[in-house]
Symmetry: C2
Subunit: 348 residues, 2 copies
C-alpha cells in the first residue's frame, strides 16, 4: 500500500512519441510546431492531433540547448516590496506575456555587488536578455557596462552606456510638481529624498527639476529645506519629515522624490497633527496605486509606468532579434510621458 504523493508515473511525451503517433518524422513535428510553411494541411492536422492526444509540450531546455533561445527574459529590480517596482514588474510580466516571453525576476536589494552580478551575466544561459533597473551603480561602474547580452536599462540614464534605455522625464516631472506647488502660493517648499554628493541618478535629476522651478520663479533653493533619505521607503520618508520639522525650518509644502517617501511624510505629519494640505501640501512621484487611497489622497507625478514596461519589452525583443540577424540598431533612448495627478494632498 502506498500513501502520500507520488510523481513521475506519467512520463512526459517527447517529440519522438508525437512523430510516431502521427506517422511522420520527428523533424516534421518540429516544423509544425515552429510554423514552417511547407507542410500539407492534412499532415499538420495529424501532428496537431497527436500533440493534443499526448498532451505534448516542447522541452524548453532541449530547444534552448540547440537554438540558443530560452523564451525568458530577466527583470532585475531592487525589491518587489517597494510598490513602484511591484507594479512595474506586474506591467513587465504582462507585456512580456503578450510577446510570448516568460519573466524571471531578480532582486538586487539596491546592492552594488548584486547589481554588478546582473551585468556580469549571472543568468546568461537562462535568459535571452535583461531589463535592468539599477539603483546603486554609478559613474565608477561604467566599466562594468559591457554586457555581451541584450540589455535594456530602465530608470535613470546613468550615463550614455551604449544600451537601449527607457526612462521617465525626471527633471520635467519634478519641475512640474514644484511649479504646481508654487502656483498654489506655497513659498517654502521642502524636498525629501535627496542623495547629496550623487552625480547621477534619479535623486539628482528630480532635485534638479525642483531647483530649476525655484530658480525660474526667482526663488532660491534653501539647503535647510532639502532632506536626505538614502533608501526611498516609507520609513525613511517619515524620518526625514520629522527631521525637517524638528529643524524648525518654516515649511508650507513638501515635494517627496517618490511616493513611498511621500506616504511616510504624510504619516509623520499625521502623527504631529499637522493638516495636509492646509498647513503643508505634499506631492510625490511615481503615482503608485496606494496614492489614490491614502488619507489624504496623494498628488503625484505619474511617470508612465505602463509605457515604460511596454517599451522596454519591445526594445529588448528587437535587440534579441538583432543579435541573431546581426543588424544592430543604434541604442534607443526613450522618454515616457509624465502627467501630474492632483489629489487632496495639494488641494486648495
Amino acid at each position: 500500500m502506498t500513501f502520500g504523493v507520488r510523481y513521475g508515473e506519467r512520463v512526459p511525451a517527447t517529440m519522438y512519441d508525437v512523430a510516431k503517433l502521427a506517422g511522420v518524422s520527428i523533424k516534421t513535428v518540429s516544423n509544425v510546431i515552429n510554423g514552417y510553411p511547407y507542410i500539407r494541411e492534412s499532415t499538420r492536422e495529424r501532428v496537431l492531433a497527436a500533440i493534443k492526444e499526448l498532451d505534448y509540450r516542447v522541452n524548453v531546455s532541449a530547444r534552448n540547448l540547440r537554438s540558443g533561445r530560452t523564451g525568458m527574459i530577466a527583470l532585475a529590480v531592487p525589491e518587489l516590496r517597494l510598490p513602484y517596482f511591484a507594479e512595474l514588474a506586474d506591467s513587465v510580466i504582462r507585456a512580456a506575456e503578450d510577446a510570448g516571453l516568460t519573466v524571471l525576476i531578480q532582486q538586487t536589494n539596491g546592492d552594488r555587488a548584486r547589481e554588478l552580478s546582473v551585468l556580469s551575466g549571472l543568468h546568461r544561459h537562462r535568459t535571452d536578455g535583461v531589463i535592468f533597473s539599477p539603483l546603486a551603480l554609478g559613474e565608477e561602474d561604467r566599466a562594468a557596462f559591457d554586457a555581451d547580452f541584450p540589455l535594456v536599462l530602465l530608470g535613470e540614464r546613468i550615463f550614455n552606456s551604449g544600451f537601449d534605455h527607457v526612462t521617465m522625464r525626471n527633471v520635467e516631472g519634478a519641475r512640474a510638481a514644484t511649479e504646481y506647488l508654487m502656483g498654489l502660493g506655497r513659498k517654502r517648499i521642502a524636498v525629501i529624498g535627496a542623495h547629496p554628493g550623487e552625480l547621477v541618478g534619479t535623486a539628482r535629476l528630480r532635485v534638479e527639476g525642483y531647483t530649476q522651478a525655484l530658480v525660474e520663479a526667482g526663488h532660491r533653493a534653501d539647503p535647510a529645506l532639502v532632506a536626505e533619505a538614502g533608501l526611498w521607503h516609507r520609513s525613511t520618508g517619515a524620518q526625514a519629515m520629522h527631521q525637517l520639522l524638528d529643524s524648525g525650518a518654516e515649511i508650507d509644502a513638501v515635494f517627496a522624490l517618490n511616493d513611498a517617501l511621500a506616504l511616510g511624510a504624510l504619516h509623520a505629519l499625521h502623527e504631529r497633527r499637522i493638516a495636509v494640505p492646509d498647513q503643508i501640501a505634499v506631492i510625490g512621484f511615481d503615482d503608485i496605486e496606494e496614492a489614490r487611497y491614502s488619507v489624504p489622497t496623494l498628488s503625484s507625478v505619474s511617470p508612465g509606468r505602463e509605457q515604460i514596461a511596454r517599451t522596454a519589452v519591445q526594445l529588448l525583443r528587437a535587440r534579441i532579434a538583432a543579435t541573431a540577424d546581426g543588424e544592430p540598431a543604434p541604442p534607443a533612448e526613450v522618454f515616457a510621458d509624465f502627467e501630474l495627478r492632483l489629489r487632496e494632498s495639494t488641494e486648495g
Copy 2:
C-alpha cells in the same frame, strides 16, 4: 564602420574549453562543479582556476536536459500589484535564493482558466516545482489537482488535495480580530469582503472566524453588516464601505477581510469625514507594510508571511528531492502563527 550595440563577439566558454585549459577530461570538470568528493586537491584547484580564467558558467539548459533539474521553481500568484502578493513574492524569492533556487513568477490574475493552466503544468519543463496560491479554483476543480510535479499549495486549504499545504490560521485570526473589537466595546461590527455562496476559500474561513467570535459572545451575526467584495482591492473595499454606510445600518467597527479592503474602507470613511477609530474602528488582515503607514495606521492580523514563504520553499525542496529518491512523505499541512498588530485604527 560599425556603430550601435553588438553582441555575441565573445562566445561563452563550455566545459570542454575548461577541460582543455586545465588538462583534464570534461567529466572531471563536471565533477568539480558538482562537488564530487574523489578529486585531488591540486586538480580541483587547476580546474577552478581555468573556470575563473575563462569566466565559465554552466549551461543550465544542457544540464537540465541531461539531469532533469532546472534549479528553478515557479511561484503562481494572482497579481503582484496586490501588496500582499508582492511582499509574499519578495519573501519567497529570498527564501529560494538561500537554497540556490531561482524563482519564476506567474500571474494568474485570479482567473480560473489561468489557474488551471498552472496545474496542467504549463512550466513543467522549466521548473522543478511550483508554489501555487490559488484564488479562483474551488471544489468543482478538484479533478484538476492531479499535478504530476512537485506542488506546494499556499493560502487556503481548498480541500484535502493530497499536496503539501501551507496556510495561515484564517479562522483563528479572524476570530481574534473580532474578539478584540468586541473587547473595545464595539457591538455593531461589519465585515467587508465576503464571498456569499463560496464553499471554500479565504473569505469563507475569515467570515467563519468572525461569526464564531460573535456567537460565542452571545451576539448574532447580522446579515446587514456583511458586505460583499469579489476582488480584494482598495477600490472594492471603498465601494463596500460606502454601500454599508448608505444602507443606513448602524456600525461602530469594521473587520475587513484583508488590508487592501481595509485601506479602501479607511479611504471611504475619510471621504465622509467619519472619525477612525472614534466613530468606527477598523481592522484588517495580512499586515502589509502599508498598514504601518496609513492614516490612521491600520490594525491588522499578521499571518506569518515570512514563515509561510520559508516553509513553502522548504517543503517544495523536500518534495523535489523525494521525487528523485522515490521516498514520498505524506503531504504536510502547516499552519503559520498569526499575531494581532494593534495600531491607531482600533485605539481606544
